[in-house]
Symmetry: none
DNA sequence: TATGAATGAGGCTTCATTCAT
DNA sequence: TATGAATGAAGCCTCATTCAT
């Protein structure tokens, strides 16, 4: 039930049969990019952290930018969709089928995911802002996978009369998504690393969403 | 009523009586940092855009990083608080005193602000993530000003019985803030530049928050 | 009467008001390029020889290739034509006006020029082979200046009946040019640096050309 | 009668019984060196073009420079001398025994050879200029083979009274050689790839040489 | 014999910063 | 105050060469 990005990436990379050293470079780069940003991380630093010669990085990835993409794209393109599928069915199975339990499960589950892969999301968000084409790719991925599934669930709840039908499901979806992911982003940026118990807060957000949609 | 960051910065910089050239450097740097990020902007580019010798930048700001701070901190430290004060009193005056109108006004007003100063927020968000001490400063600023005022308003609404008293105002505030700013961040990152009319969405978020808090 | 390429370049560079350091870079680079070839000379070597920081090279020339062009093109474009003019009039004035004396003077004069600027011609010839567009530029320059003037002289000698009129002047010119410059090239490549007295040989070539053209 | 360098190299390499892969490396390298120069061709490029692993190159040739020598030296050392022998006897046999026909045949024959092996000569000329010891080797080879045979022919014509005896044969030889090879070099560098008919020009050069030597 | 991953020295270039004018 | 030439550290990347398989 705990689908960390790290695990996903490891899975992915095993599929494509990467060398040990290639793996180490990917891990080191991911960590450093998340910590200090792409532009502030030098290839020599990556090499040192991966305990590899600098040339090795370029033998495997040709370019620093391709290294970045090798960290993000495979994850997004191949791991996100199936992951979401899993998550959604698991969620519905174990948490019951009311809107409350759906959103509570969604938020809790994704929040765990988020927290564990904070680094990778940081890379995503940061490098994201500048590169137009990449932005589009990611956006489409999110919409076609995550948004679509939330929308499906909301439509089902609307049919069962558990959520208001006076507002189109698309708008409800977009709003819910914005609130939930906004909640995560805000936490990603504003939260100290102090382990603040935020269960209260999550419950609060769930209540607000549910009430707002009834 | 239209408080763009740009205007705020201009106001601020006039106060400190900067030279023409210093001004031009600030403007050019702000634009470039927003567009391409701090790390991807060179001082020579800034000099060219400001039509100033490169040395001039360093005469005024000593360091590229101090230049960044000269763009962000003055705005945050001296412009945000009074701005918020204005905004809040204006808001309450012109929009009536129900929770609905308060949040609606808050979101609409801040959204305009956001949209117009998107660039400056981009600088803020991007460079933000990395520099620990800076993060703290900004966080405190936000909490002490914006959060505090929202909290004051909520407490007042609680006293009037228009918002539930069974949840501490601090939690309600934090949740509302998270939802609202999360909403903005999400739009900042995920929205195409197409001018999508989002009035629906704003209204939606207002309703959800209100319902959730009643 | 002694027109070394080196002197020409110095003249040229004074016109364009170059810094001392820029000058030193040009000189060092010219020497090294001639000695070891463009591809085998590193910018750090140039910097060391010019006693300049490596960055200085790029401040002035942006690119290693632009540095190469800054050595060759100015010389070719601005120094060659007037130079040739001088040379030709001087030659005709001081050597008398028979075909023999003309060719003898031409070869001797140009051979001196060649010997002293051997380095620069080496750069020219070597880098020449690869870069198509550059090749064209140089070729046109040579044809429009040197060839044209030889052709003028030959036509005059034909009119005076001192050279056969049964062959078009263009063919005679091309042949003479090919022989003369071929003679130089061959010496450039095949000659040891031992100072072989080649006056005999020059006289030989003059005789052969003259006899062949009578 | 048509002795292209390519054919010669193929012959040579067959003699020394090289592996298929070694062969392929030699061919690929020769092509690339001619096209882009030694310094601008990477061993990985050669490996790719030869469809061989990069390590294979070094197994066979140890060093990139030894690879270059493996292309040029065998040709020069073992193919040039017998080739010249053939050429000269063929020439004298089929073109008759006057100085005119000798030089005409020599130039035409060698010009064809030149044209077809332009690439290989480009390698020779280019890499040549820099490496002192190599230069000597090649120079000696040329002198001991080509020059010697021309000298022999000239001496014979002098004995028959068909060429002036007032000039030592060595000087005549050197001059003729310089003119002929200079003619080729000049064409190699200055000629566009347009197929200019140069028969006129060749005839012209022959006449000039002959007249000059009578 | 053949491979190709790994290496690390060295290449070109950028850039924040200094300083003499 | 303003300039811009000069600096040199550091960045990304290429490449000949080695070596375990």
């Amino acid at each position: 039930m705990n689908h960390s990005l790290m695990e996903e990436i490891v899975k992915y990379s095993k599929k494509t049969k990467t060398t040990d050293k290639k793996q180490r470079v990917l891990q080191a780069a991911a960590q450093l990019f998340a910590e200090k940003g792409y532009a502030n991380t030098s290839t020599s630093e990556i090499a040192k952290k991966a305990d590899v010669a600098e040339g090795t990085i370029f033998r495997h990835f040709q370019t620093k930018e391709k290294l970045l993409r090798s960290i993000l794209l495979p994850f997004l393109k191949e791991s996100l969709p199936p992951l979401s599928e899993d998550v959604f069915s698991e969620m519905l199975a174990s948490y019951g089928d009311s809107p409350e339990s759906f959103f509570r499960a969604l938020i809790k589950n994704r929040y765990e995911f988020f927290k564990e892969s904070k680094e990778y999301f940081q890379i995503l968000v940061k490098e994201f802002v500048y590169t137009e084409p990449f932005q589009q790719e990611v956006k489409v991925l999110f919409e076609q996978n995550v948004l679509k599934r939330i929308n499906d669930a909301i439509k089902r709840f609307q049919e069962k009369g558990e959520i208001t039908q006076s507002i189109p499901s698309e708008i409800l979806t977009r709003t819910a998504f914005t609130i939930i992911f906004g909640f995560f982003f805000t936490h990603m940026f504003l939260q100290n690393n102090e382990d603040t118990p935020i269960d209260n807060e999550i419950e609060q957000v769930v209540q607000i969403i549910i009430n707002g949609m009834k």
